[in-house]
Symmetry: C2
Subunit: 719 residues, 2 copies
Amino acid sequence: MSQTSTVEAARATAPRDLEPLFAPRSIAVVGASRTPGSVGHAITRNLIYGGFTGVVYPINPKAKSILGCRCTPRLSQIGEEVDLAVLVVPAGAVEDVVREAAEHGTKHFVVITAGFKEIGGEGVERERRLKALAQERGLSILGPNCLGVINTAPHVCMNATFAREMPAAGNLGLISQSGALCTALLDYAKGIGMGFSRFISFGNKVDISEIDLLRSLASDPQTNVILMYIEELSAGQAFVEAVNQITHGPKPKPVLAIKTGRTAQGAAAAASHTGSLAGSDEVYEAIMSQAGVIRVESVKELFDYAEVFGDAALPRGRRTAVVTNAGGPGIMATDACIRNGMELTKFQEYTVKSLRFQLPPTASLKNPVDVIGDAKSDRYRAALDAVTADEGTEQVVVIVTPQMMTDLAQIAHVVGEIRGYCGKPVVACLMGLADIAEAVTVLKRHGVPTFTFPEDAMRALAAKSRYAEWVRAPMQPYQQFDCRREAVERLFAAELDAGRTRLVELQALEALGHYGFPLVPYRLARTADEAAEASEQMGYPVVMKISGPKILHKTDVGGVRLNLRDAEAVRQAYNGMIASVQAKLGKDIEIWGVLVQKMLPPGKEIILGMTRDPRFGPLLMFGLGGIYTEALRDVSFRLAPIRGGMAGEMIRGIRSYRLLEGVRGEAPSDLPAIADCLGRLSQLVTDLPQIKELDINPLIVYAEGTGAVVADARIILSE
Amino acid sequence: MSQTSTVEAARATAPRDLEPLFAPRSIAVVGASRTPGSVGHAITRNLIYGGFTGVVYPINPKAKSILGCRCTPRLSQIGEEVDLAVLVVPAGAVEDVVREAAEHGTKHFVVITAGFKEIGGEGVERERRLKALAQERGLSILGPNCLGVINTAPHVCMNATFAREMPAAGNLGLISQSGALCTALLDYAKGIGMGFSRFISFGNKVDISEIDLLRSLASDPQTNVILMYIEELSAGQAFVEAVNQITHGPKPKPVLAIKTGRTAQGAAAAASHTGSLAGSDEVYEAIMSQAGVIRVESVKELFDYAEVFGDAALPRGRRTAVVTNAGGPGIMATDACIRNGMELTKFQEYTVKSLRFQLPPTASLKNPVDVIGDAKSDRYRAALDAVTADEGTEQVVVIVTPQMMTDLAQIAHVVGEIRGYCGKPVVACLMGLADIAEAVTVLKRHGVPTFTFPEDAMRALAAKSRYAEWVRAPMQPYQQFDCRREAVERLFAAELDAGRTRLVELQALEALGHYGFPLVPYRLARTADEAAEASEQMGYPVVMKISGPKILHKTDVGGVRLNLRDAEAVRQAYNGMIASVQAKLGKDIEIWGVLVQKMLPPGKEIILGMTRDPRFGPLLMFGLGGIYTEALRDVSFRLAPIRGGMAGEMIRGIRSYRLLEGVRGEAPSDLPAIADCLGRLSQLVTDLPQIKELDINPLIVYAEGTGAVVADARIILSE
C-alpha cells in the first residue's frame, strides 16, 4: 500500500453512525434487578431516575416490575424493535442474548458484563466470538467490561451506567478505557462543579474503538472539549488522522488525554538503535504529538485544562497580562508564565498612563500590575479595563488573595463582566479555599475558569496557546517524492529469493538511491585495478569497505580503510583487505568486492532510523550521531507517513537541537536537507512494508545550503 | 578568613533568643484603633478574640477603650515593662515609638507599618535609621511591612496579625517574606484542615532575618515541619549552615521552601563561563541543595509535602506497596512511583500467598494490588495487613475510588488503624471530591496524609524518601587540604602591585600548584635554546604557549603551537611565535617567554570554575568542556566552601553525567580525581577572597585510577 493509499484508507473509513447508541428511543436492560446494590438494579434506577426521555424495558424472567416499571421476561417478548440493549447478564450468557436481540432487530449494545479478555483463558475466546458476531451481523457493541454510557442532552437524558448518580450537564465529552476510574472522574467533576455532554466507558472495545468514539464526540453539538483516559491505543495512523481532522476544519475541538503506562518497558528488543530506543511510551508520545492531542499528566490537570479549554475564545498569542493584589503571587505567576513558554505583555504607554491615573501611587504599573492589598472591586475594574484594552494583551490572569478589605464576591462579578465584553480569555486565581466559595460560584456562573494557584492557571493557558497555534496552522498534506519504487521492490525480492533479509551497505545505498537520497559517489570494485580506476574517476581521497553478503561488522575484520590518497594506496588497500577478511572469516567467505566511496569532508553526524512497531507500523527516528543518540538517548520519533512540516518538528524536538543551529560561531546546519531525507524515508518505509528496520548512520550534514550525504546505511527486511 | 574560620564564624553566631517575641507576657499595640476594618483594630481584635494568655495594652491617645480593653494614651504611661510592642503607627512615627518603648524597657517589636525600603527614596533612609537603632539598643525587630506573628501554643495563643482569623493549631511552622501571600496560605490551610504552630511574616527584615526565624522554629517543640516562602535570601553560607544543623542532629526537622523569582535574569554579566552561566536562580538552586532544603514549586505542593512530612515516621527506603480498587489509578500510581525515582515493592512469597488466600480470584496480587471495584473495608484490611507485613514494604499508598459498593468511611477507619500499628508511612488517595468528605475527615483524625490523586501522593512520598536519606547520611566535615596559602598571597600581592588583576596562565598554574592541583610539567623558556632544553628534559611531544602580562588571547596572535616532536621543531616554533606575536601586537609588547608544557594525551575535558557572587560569595561551577557547558548549559553549582561528599553531588548533578560513567565500552572517568580538584578549588577560593573569577578550562580527566591534569587556567583578582 503506498503512502497516499494508507491515508486514503484512513479517510475512506466513514465515521460509524453511533447516534442510536447515544440517543435511543428505547432501551432494554437485560439483567435488570430488584436488588438494591446490584449492578442490574443500579442501571435501571439510573435510567429511570435520570429522566431518560424514551422507554425503558427491564428484562427479568422472575420480577413483575422494577422501580414501578413493568418487567418483560425475555427481550424477544417485548413485541417491538428496541434501539439499544444494555447487558448485565453473566458473561456466559452475553453471546446468546446479543444473538437473540439481533434477531429481533436491535443493532446497538452496551455490554457492562466483565469476564472477557481481561480474565484471560476462556474469556479471550468468549470475546473473540462476540467480536465475530458483531462483524457478522453488523452490530455496534460498546464494552464489554465497562461502566456504560451517559448522554446528558435534554432530549435524551440517558444514564445507562451503574455510576452513583447522573453528572451535571456540560460541554465536556469524556471517553475512558477504565470503568473504575470513571466513578472517580464523576465525583471529582461534581466537586469542582463541572458537567459532561457525553460520558462513555468503553472497556475492552470488542467492537467500538476509541477512534469511533472520538469521531462521534467530534460531531456532537453539545461537546466542546473531548477528554480521554486511555491505557493503550488500537491503531496509530488512524488515530493520528482522526485527531488531525477533529482539531482542524470548520469547528475544531481540543482533545485532552491521559495516557498511563509511561514507564512500562517496551518489548522492542531489536538490535538496531531505533529498536532499542523505541520504548512504548516514546511511540505514544510520537503519536500524540503528531495527532495534535494535548497530553496531560493527571486527572487534576485534565480538569484544569478542560476548564480553560471550555471557554471557546482562543488567544491570539502568548502575551499575558497579570493583575494581582499581592506581590508574591505576582512573582509566582511571572515565573510560571515564563517557564511555560508564555510572555508577559509589555504595556503600551496609554495603558501605563491610564493605570497611573486610576491606581494609588504605591501600585505597581508594570506587568504584573499590583493593585495593592487593600484593593476593592473598583480598583480591579480600573486595572482590568486598562490592561484588557491594551493591544498587546492576548489573555489575562487575575489574582485575588483574600485580604482584610477584599470584597471577593464583588471582584468576582467585575471579573465576570469584563470577561464578557473584553473578547480575550480571562482566568481567575482565588488564592485560598475556605473563604472564597461564594466568589468561585460567581466566577463559574460567568464562565470564568477559576483556579486556586497561578501555576496551574498558567500551565493550562500555555497549553491553550499552543493549541491555538496548532489549530491556526493549516494541516499540511503528506509529501510526495518522485521515486523508483518498483526498482526497490525488485532489489528486495532478489535478496529475499537469495535467502537474505539483512541488506549490506551496497544494496541499502542502492535502495536509498532509488528514493532520491543524497549519496556519495560509490562503486563496487571487484579487483584492485578496478578499485584504483574507480578512485581515479571519483577523485581522492577515497574510503574503501569490504562488501559481501555475510560480512556485517566490516571494521572488526579489517574491512574498512579510510583516507586513501593515490592509486597505489588503493591497490594495496584492496589486497590487504581481502587478505585480512579471509584470514578472519575463512577462505570461503563470499566477497563481492570492495565498495569504493569518495571520502566525505567532515560535517555533523545525524542518525535517521525506522523500526516497525508491531501495532502501530513504521516509526521514524531522528537524532544526532554518537553519544547523543546512544548514551544520552536524545532522539525524536514520529509514525510514518508524516505530513509536511512534521520533519521540522522532529528535528526541533531533540534536546540538543541547539547544536544544529550553530554554536560558537559555526554556521547552522542544513536543516531542510535533513527534513528532505526524513520525508523520503517516510515515503520509503510506507511504500515498502517489507522493510523491518532501517538505519542511516551517519547522515553527514553540512552548513546551511550545502546539503547532507548518506555515509552508511543498513536495511533489514521481514522474512 | 580561612575555610574553617568562615564556618566557625557561622557556627559561633549563637541563635538569637526570640522567645519573648513569640511568647510575651504583655503586648502593647501602638496604634490600636476602634475603627472596624482598620489594621489597628484588626490586630487588637485578633489578640483579644484569639485568646491571648497575657495582657494586651491598646495604646491610643483618644479612645477610652477598644473591645472592652482600657486604652493607654502613650506606651510610656503603661507603668510597667512591656515584653512586646506591635506598631501600627504611620511610618514617620515608627522610630520615635521604638525609641520611647526601648527607654521603658521593651526589647521586642513587631513593626506592621509599611512605607520603608519597599517604597524607595525616604523609606530607604527611614529603614536604615531603624536598623541602626535596633543595633545600638540591642533590640529585636520583626518587619517592617509585615502581617505580624502568630503562636498557637496553648500557653500563649497569640495572634498579633491583621489576618482574618486565628488559624487552627498544628505542627507546621511557617515563615513568609510576603505578607499578602500569608492570608492566602492561611485560607488554603483552613480549607484543607491543616494547622500551624507558629506563623511569621517577616517583611523587610530590618533586623530579624529568615535565618534567625529558622533557628527559632528549629528549637520550638510545637513545630515539626518548617515551611518558608522567600523571594531572596540575606546570606548564603550561613543559611546553608543553619539548615544543615536543623536537618541533622538529635531531632531533625524538614525545611520546605517556595523560592520565587526563578526566571529572573541574574545580573552577572562577567565574561567568563562561570559568570555568564550563574543566573540567579542557579545560585539559589545550589544553596537549597547544599543546605538540604526541600524546594517546592507551588503553594499546593508546599501543603501536599507538609502533610506527608507532618507524619514523623521516616521511610527506611524507597520501596512502596500500592493497594487499589481500580486498575487505572493503579497504573497512574505506578507511573508516578517510577518517574519520581521510587520503587515498587516486589512482594515476598508469603505475602502473595496471604493475598491469594484472602482476595477474590480476579484480584491482582502483584504490586499494585488490585482488590477489585466491589471491595469493602474487610478486603482492604486483608490486603493492607499482608503488604505492610512484607519486609520489602517501606511505605504504602492506598487508593480508593468511590464505587457503588465502596464503604468509604469504613475503609478510612481501617486505613487509619493499620497506619497506627504497622510502623510504616501510609498515605491515602481518595479519588474524588464530592462524596468522600466524611472519609477524608476520618483519615485526617487518624493522621493519615490524604490526597485526591496518586501523582501528588507519590511526589510527596518521594521527597520524603530523599529527605530520609539526607537525614540519615551523616554531615561530612569541610575537607582540609595541606596548601601553601602564603605563597599564593605573595604571588597575588606582587601582581596587584604591578597593577595587574588578570593573571596569565603561567601564574594561574603556579597558584594552583601551591594548592596541590595536578599540573602537567611546564617551564617558562626565555630563549629558543632554553625551550629546546626544557623539552628534552620533559620529553616529547610538547606544547608551547606565548607568555606575557598583556597577552590574553594567545591563539589569536599565533602564540600557541601543539605537538612539537623534536628540539629543532621547538626552536623554530619559539622564534616563529615571538615573531608572530610581535607582528600582531607590536615590537614593544612585553614577552616573558614561552611556556613549554608536556603535551597531554587525550582525555575527557572538564571545566571547573568559580565566580564570586556579590551577595553569596564564591560559587563553584562544574561541567563538561566544549558544547556541554557553552551551548547546552549543562553545569552544576555549589557555594564554597563545600563539605566532603558535595563534590560528588556536583559531578552527578549534570545531565550528561552518563558520559563520565563510560559509554560505548569506555572506562569510567576518574571521578575521585575531579572531586579532589573541586575540594582544592573550594579551599583556594575560600582562603583567598581576592580571587574574583577562576576558570580551569580544561581539566583533562583520564580513566578511573589514572587521574586528571589541569591543562589551562585563568584567574582574575579583585581590584
